[in-house]
Symmetry: C2
Subunit: 224 residues, 2 copies
């Protein structure tokens, strides 16, 4: 596969050992998968053992920012390790349950991105403030302009890890089931049950004044 400015260079660990046809390195695809989500699973090694924690993230250009508290384990580990913290950040969207005639060919339709790299904590407070705004706006576009901004004490208690998008791959499975030809005449239903993330009507806080209207960025909320 040709590597261009539009794609990430495959590496030994971003080329899967199986289902290689599902792997992709196209930047536009990777960005779209990352931007649709906001929850990643952050993996790191602690005392030689793997740890995987859910956390919020946002992408800006070719950097991924991962949110945390200064007291949390990955952030403390990243701060202590001089050269940064080796991490793996994975984002997955499930699009469908794939039902084949045979048990074996059951599958999921999904889109995932796996990022390998070394995470470093942001230390510059004004950069951290900008990134926290970007995190709020990544989860709810338009929200960062409609909040009380973080003050210096709050900023100091928040930690953000930054990671370059360099060693990155996407994996996509879509379409219907791939049944074996000899199974096609079996009497079992086959196809896909679509799966999506849905957003309900906004629920006001108990202490919210009834005169405060629901903002437009919530009534029109959508991620794709």
């Amino acid at each position: 596969m040709a590597v261009t400015a539009d794609s990430y260079a495959p590496t030994e660990r971003t080329v899967p050992t199986r289902a290689r046809e599902r792997a992709a390195y196209d930047k536009e695809l990777v960005h779209a998968i990352l931007d649709e989500g906001y929850l990643c699973h952050l993996g790191f090694v602690r005392d030689g053992a793997p740890v995987v924690l859910p956390t919020l993230y946002a992408r800006i250009g070719e950097r991924l920012y991962v949110h945390g508290s200064t007291g949390s384990r990955p952030l403390r580990a990243a701060g202590q390790a001089g050269p940064g913290l080796p991490v793996c950040v994975t984002v997955t969207h499930v699009d469908g349950l794939v039902l084949a005639r045979s048990a074996m060919h059951h599958s999921l339709n999904y889109r995932s991105v796996v990022v390998h790299g070394t995470a470093r904590p942001l230390t510059d407070q004004s950069e951290k403030a900008r990134v926290l705004d970007a995190l709020v706006d990544h989860v709810v576009p338009g929200r960062a302009a409609d909040v009380r901004p973080a003050n210096a004490k709050e900023l100091a208690a928040t930690a953000v890890l930054v990671l370059d998008l360099h060693e990155v791959s996407a994996k996509v499975r879509d379409g219907g089931p791939n049944d074996d030809p000899e199974d096609l005449s079996l009497p079992h239903w086959s196809g896909v049950l679509p799966v999506a993330t849905s957003y309900g009507a906004p629920v006001p806080a108990d202490d919210l004044d009834v005169s405060v209207p629901v903002p437009g960025y919530l009534t029109a909320y959508a991620r794709r």
Copy 2:
């Protein structure tokens, strides 16, 4: 906290360094979170670096079974490592976007389970066949009885890792925003945007005979 037969014993790595009030070890809660999902993020260490991959799982009693191909990296690693593969399996459900008056108190409502342990590949073929049926039925209850079962060749190409539920914790954040008292009079909307996983109408495979009806376990599909 009292440890009883109804809860997992907290360990150094299952007690969070922050937001301890959100951590829980109750088996019933852990089982409910695990059983609602089917996609986990499996973390393991390869050449000293973390790897996090999405994969399917099912719980049976106090064991977690993780699906894979015999050719995939974690499964090969588990087969090669004599004492098993140290893993961390994390399952997360997002329930809401929490909007506070201040940027700092924005949050997610979520339920997650983190399982630490050592995974081993199932080697007994009849046990593997039972577990694969359980995996199919975990994703689509009722489906395993309505498929062509796996044959010996298919079973041999499939790998399943098993992991004891022993070092386990849940984490739950729910309810509205926790604004600071001095922020309550600010004019910003606050509350929760509910998030859920939704399932659409079944889409038949292109090659499905039109006389095959949609099975009842799909028309009534629900996970909670």
